[in-house]
Amino acid sequence: MIDTLFFALVAAVAVVAAVAMVVARRAVHSALFLVVILFCVALLYLTLSAEFLAAVQIIVYAGAVMVLFLFVITLLNPAAEQQLADVRSHGIVAAVLAGVLLIEVAAVLRWGTLAGQPASFPPPAVPWSDNVQAIGEGLFTTGFLLPFELTSVLLIVAIVGATVLAKRRL
């Protein structure tokens, strides 16, 4: 029961922050609301026994990505603070489509294959403390080794690409 209450609290904060992020007039406010959402998601990871991902979420997103966002916002300060009116017509279509999407998800949950399954989570297969080890084994022994190595290439390419783009003259 306490878990459900905790979930409800975290979820409420996340949804409110998300709405606030979208409607905030200033980009820097949006960024701060996003940080709140990321923390909430990290907490939810913890409730799902994914403490390694929770840590990564904080370090990578809140630590690295958000710093980058804030950095760019300060770099482009006058432009980033431009008061750009929202596009209402698109907003209506988008809201309708998003509503349809929600209905679809709800329908799947209600009548799809998941409907017949037990609603609650089974007891965890690996104990709390072994999550990191499980991820490591999964990553390096069950066929994810090549993709894992490829991500390093991807990151290098991203770094080089960003440098090329941002630099005026090489």
């Binding site: 980009a27 709800a106 991203a158």
Partner: protein
């Protein structure tokens, strides 16, 4: 006792929808990017929830990769925004339509 799976999925869908609306409504590319991050996080949450539900580690590994891609995407995307701003002196995406056929 953890909250039921469907709670997590519905929360994920809600966050995703908010992200979608954000991408489509805002004209500030920075906020559009943040909304995309929100959508990615919503998807991640689904992965982790199913990973726990089926007691397999693969879902978490996929999230791990998505994190990497998101980081790369942000880096490149922000660099593009910076260079667009340099050449056009604005970051309004509706002003940037040079790919019009």
């Amino acid at each position: 006792m953890i909250a039921p799976l469907s709670y997590y999925l519905i929360l994920s869908a809600v966050l995703f929808s908010i992200g979608v609306v954000g991408v489509l409504v805002r004209r500030n590319p920075l906020v559009m990017f943040m909304s995309i991050e929100l959508m990615l996080n919503a998807a991640n949450l689904t992965f982790v929830a199913f990973s726990r539900y089926f007691n397999t580690i693969q879902g978490q590994i996929v999230v791990f990769f998505i994190l990497t891609i998101a980081a790369a995407e942000v880096v490149v995307g922000l660099a593009i925004i910076v260079s667009i701003f340099r050449s056009k002196a604005t970051i309004d995406v509706d002003q940037v339509a040079s790919l019009k056929g």
